[in-house]
Symmetry: C2
Subunit: 712 residues, 2 copies
């Protein structure tokens, strides 16, 4: 591999299938993303995705019941902006294509793709496509086509236009996407540009997408071997539901310069450097690059489970954002962290209605999977029943507050969310006698682990609800005037505090560990030794009833709570880790990062390192075999969590930044940049030492490896 951590070349990847490379080399800017298609190959999986641009269709149920999600929401796959037609003098297409090399420069946000393309006469050209996407504003991708003749002499014509495509075929796999048949198109062709207005007939959205080039979209020129001609085009993607309003068109060079500035600034604030393993270091950079590229930045959009790198999970937003990605932004980019919270804030009214539909008289219940805030999960046992999303969102607000110290924002947007989610828990749960004591319980819920559904007192859910209520009480105290305006009475505050105290947390006396739910330890352990490796992921090979009746986990569940709250003795944590690791398949890409981070904390350095290897390179190794559908965004964020909160031992404890050095023995140095309470910090982990440098901001006291330290 190359030793520049910010360059990724396709030759470093094992999988070379086009649809996989389209995902890996996709580039995005929070608003839209372009899959890295071969421009002359007319790939059916190519395309352009706009964050939050989706169509709806009625969900068909085998048997429908009251309150079920009504509509699918499906991200629209728009025409491929990279596509181009190249003709020879006889109007034959150069349409046989071979990728020579492709690399992503993450210093600049520049993707370079080199192809050898041939016509039916066996004559060939070298086509180099350089692309770079505007980061701010965010409507343009710059496309430079460099065409050099290899063995062709004569006229060459290139034509660029927008191909209306069949939207991706539907699939039974819930992790993929479905077909859309209700789009309408309006094309506007001018001399130098072509703009297509794509409208969704059911969700009533539209987006304008276009191509532009100075002097027109068709270019004719003459080449002979080794001669080269370059042409710049722009791909244009307007905002959702507004006309494109471009007063002037930037040059490719201008876009690239802006992009380079943007990424320089990003790395200055977010750089994570692993010294001692170039492969991991590169993967880490790749993950942060794509994470940043994928986050909605307007307060109306969020981060799709696959970003804009593919149509998997239909462009939906999940708890993935809050639990796996938001901490990165809270620590490196306040503005985006705020935008992500604003998005949830905008859904509060809808979510209150949803709570009513679920028979809960107060509070708000956020949709498990959604783009516009309506529940789009067609299988409630692994959808709506994951009530924990409410507390996950509250937790993200807690992270934002403690990391940034930005009270104003939390008062304005955060308190109401935390309050309404706390109210939900209060009304959703109920008191029950547990071992003779009245404890507050939650029945028929599903925790993060989707291989266990509809259980009572899921530890994670209960622990998170407890947190949510405690945090609400804290915010009510802090922002009492605002709380008053939201109708909080002294009595209600007392109630919330009492319930928080009374929430039941299942614990097994004999094993001396927290218990995933009331019944989990009663069930037989999954027969792992009789399960052939091709039967993973289990969800594709066993009926849910089969999976549910065993102790088997798709992902971290109780351990995720342990990771978040760091509230166990080291011994108990080690026991829990040992117990749950044995029953976890990691069939979810949300699993390994947490297992790695916890192992690092416990001191299981080998395990930590192994899981980290897998998690940080999940997409680069196509570990789950489905990266062609899009990147595993939560896992990108998860790998950052692993490094910072696992190996880096960064935790906010008692509102104070705490750092513990768990550097793997394989590394000689780890450097992390982040911003805490308005201080830009660089933390350098060495085998026997941890240095913290203040790059900007006022001095601050933090705890490093157990000792209080003034950073100045």
């Amino acid at each position: 591999m190359n030793n520049n951590a910010k360059i990724l070349t396709n030759s470093e990847l094992k999988n070379q299938t086009p649809s996989y490379l389209e995902t890996i080399f996709s580039i995005s800017n929070g608003h839209f993303g372009v899959r890295a298609s071969d421009p002359v190959a007319k790939s059916i999986t190519a395309g352009t995705l706009v964050n939050g641009f989706f169509e709806i269709s009625k969900i068909n149920y085998g048997e429908k019941a009251y309150g079920y999600a009504e509509n699918n929401q499906t991200i629209v796959n728009l025409p491929d902006l990279r596509a181009i037609e190249v003709f020879d003098a006889h109007h034959r297409l150069f349409d046989k294509s071979q990728l020579e090399t492709q690399y992503l420069n993450m210093h600049k946000g520049l993707l370079v793709s080199v192809y050898q393309i041939s016509n039916s006469a066996g004559q060939s050209l070298k086509l180099t496509l350089k692309s770079t996407i505007q980061q701010s504003p965010d409507s343009i991708i710059g496309l430079r086509y460099e065409i050099r003749s290899i063995n062709y002499t004569g006229t060459v014509t290139i034509k660029k236009h927008l191909n209306i495509k069949n939207n991706h075929k539907g699939s039974d796999d819930p992790r993929k996407s479905r077909q859309i048949s209700t789009l309408s198109y309006e094309k506007n062709v001018l001399d130098s540009s072509e703009v297509l207005k794509v409208s969704t007939q059911q969700s009533h959205q539209f987006v304008e997408i276009g191509v532009y080039s100075d002097g027109g979209l068709e270019k004719t020129f003459v080449l002979k071997p080794d001669q080269r001609q370059d042409f710049d085009f722009l791909g244009l993607v307007g905002p959702i539901n507004r006309k494109m309003n471009l007063r002037k068109y930037p040059t490719f060079t201008q876009i690239l310069a802006d992009s380079t500035r943007f990424w320089n600034d990003f790395w200055a604030k977010s750089e994570v450097t692993i010294s001692g393993n170039d492969e991991l270091n590169q993967a880490m950079h790749y993950n942060l690059f794509q994470l940043m590229s994928s986050a909605g930045r307007d307060g109306r959009t969020n981060i799709a489970a696959k970003g804009m790198s593919g149509t998997g999970y239909e462009g939906h937003y999940f708890w993935d954002t809050e639990m796996y990605m938001a901490p990165f932004f809270a620590f490196t980019n306040n503005k985006i962290a705020r935008d992500l919270i604003k998005y949830r804030y905008s859904l509060l009214d809808l979510s209150k209605k949803r709570a009513r539909t679920l028979g809960v008289d107060q509070g708000a219940l956020f949709a498990w999977r959604t783009i516009d805030g309506h529940e789009a999960s067609a299988y409630y046992p692994a959808g709506t029943a994951q009530y924990h999303i409410d507390a996950d969102i509250a937790y993200a607000i807690y992270c934002y507050l403690t990391i940034t110290g930005d009270k104003d924002f939390v008062e304005k947007y955060g308190l109401e969310i935390v309050l309404e989610t706390a109210r939900f828990w209060k009304n959703f749960g109920s008191y029950s006698l547990i071992n003779g004591k009245k404890k507050f319980c939650f029945f028929d819920v599903t925790g993060p682990d989707e291989y266990t559904a509809l259980v009572d007192n899921n530890y994670y859910t209960n622990r998170m609800a407890k947190f949510n209520l405690e945090f609400a009480v804290k915010l009510i105290d802090e922002f009492s005037r605002k709380a008053d305006s939201l109708g909080v009475t002294t009595l209600e505050k007392k109630e919330l505090a009492k319930i928080a105290k009374d929430i039941y947390l299942p614990y097994d006396q004999k094993l001396a560990i927290n218990q995933q739910d009331d019944s989990s330890f009663q069930k037989p352990v999954w027969p792992f030794s009789q399960t052939p490796s091709e039967n993973y992921p289990l969800l594709l090979h066993y009926h849910p009833l089969t999976i549910y009746r065993y102790q088997v986990n798709k992902q971290a569940d109780t351990l995720l709570a342990d990771f978040l709250f760091d509230d166990l003795s080291k011994e108990q944590l080690a026991r829990e880790y040992d117990y749950y690791e044995k029953i976890t398949t990691h069939d979810s890409s949300l699993s390994r990062s947490i297992f790695s981070a916890l192992a690092a904390r416990i001191g299981l350095q080998n395990k930590a390192y192994k899981y980290f290897n897998d998690t940080v390179r999940t997409d680069l190794t196509d570990l789950q075999g489905n990266s062609c559908d899009g990147l595993h965004l939560a896992n990108l964020g998860g790998s950052w969590l692993t490094v910072t909160e696992g190996f880096g031992g960064i935790i906010i404890k008692n509102d104070k930044l705490t750092i513990n050095n768990h550097l793997p023995k394989e590394w000689n140095k780890l450097t992390i940049r982040l911003t805490y309470q308005a201080r830009r910090l660089e933390i350098v982990y060495l085998p026997n030492n941890t240095e913290v440098h203040l790059l900007a901001g006022k001095p601050i006291v933090i705890t490093v490896d157990g000792a209080s330290k003034m950073i100045d």
Copy 2:
């Protein structure tokens, strides 16, 4: 009301909507049923249903998973055999119609419907349609149209043909049916008959349906006021997948005579007479009449949840047969009881495959709802998860054996079913530590109560599984040679016996009652006082997640086990009844009969009487508001269970018939006819006495009101 218990007149019914009357006055013969349509009104809900004639269509899932039921099975609504066109001299239809009276004569199996029909000139005829259905053979319905002029003079033409109809519109309500669009038709018109071959394109079945009349299907005649002409037609329905093969056509009179003989014989063997309340007595007769009419009699068909009286539940067979209807047949008609068991026997291979799909390596799992044996339930939490159907089928075989003493049949057909279902339980369940003891448990199951789903150790399921295993061991001992041939080893028998002993039966020490499942008593009780009456049935007004997280029952669950096994002290039974009654909505038509029967046994005579009133007249009062979709067959059988096993106190205890008189104070006499161990008995319950008469067969000793009695 009239005081003939075997006549039901429409004027005795409150609901007079045509689709409701079509159901109530539908007549059937186990093979096909004809809804009692107004013959000139072209009702869209009218039609002819053939037991087991269905089309399949792919089930659409919002989110599909491994092992889900693949296809819907939907009973086909065939052309209405009652329909006729009546023209005046100017070719105007007499198509405005008014029902004058309609009555069902259950002595004879004769339905008489009288209409006044008018043309657009306001001229009227009186149309009387008498219909009677062949009981054996079973291909013909006799239809006599008597036409009398009221104020019309002139030529009248009647034409009979088969209208191909749009099949019933689909519905979201899982209790209704869905549309079919994949039928093909082939019509064969002769002088005196018209035969339509209806083929299903997906399930590859066909049925021939026809109409016939001596001298042709069109008749022209002249009437003047008060003059009358009568015409006989036959409706023909061939067997499934075979050509109609009628060598000669019986006359209406012959059919009626045969039918009358059939019903005379039926009543002689099955009569239940309630003296003291004509309304209940009539309802009881009606229920038995329809129950008998609905049962498949060929070993290839069963009893649909709505019989052939309507398309509700799509013509599917459920556990309803075994638990609510089979006892009636075991006690009154051995042949049908055997046919119902043979039907299940024919599904054993399919059911073994289904068990594998559900991750169980041995044994058979019967489909929860089906016609052809494939699972057709599109919502597994209230479908496939009701594993108890396996034990329910075993239980029906137990009833058959103990009631009839027919060992040969049980050896040939019963043992294998009981064994394969027992093997299922053995492999499905697992040992777990409960209060320090190793007990055999079943996880993630749904019991009969569909308002509680996916729970652990459902009492009913566990109790029934225990029974199933015990019964298997008993049969293995009894039929050891046959058991050997089925691969049963001594070791396996031991295992089955041990598991039966070890099965965990949840019991609450504090309440001193059996507990519905591991978590049931932890959950809060449904807020009944805050639930408006229009919100019942709950399933149409609350999300399943809302219903599941409360203690609320749709129907008898633990109490059903109590009813079947009669193994509790009177005190415990009273406590359980009291507890569960308070949380039961009776939203299922399978509930009240059991509550009534148990109340009778406990001595809660007022409750018993009230529930019986509701249950016995469920359809006649349209208690659930959906009798238009078809009769509630299980409830018809349930009302017989209530009378015989509740008020009549009939139980098989230690393989001996036991009778306890629980005659309600409102009645002065109750007479029940049944056959036990080849003895035809008439049991007469009087307020202070119980008489048992031997009508046929050898003397036998039974227990009556606590004392052993020789019946001779």
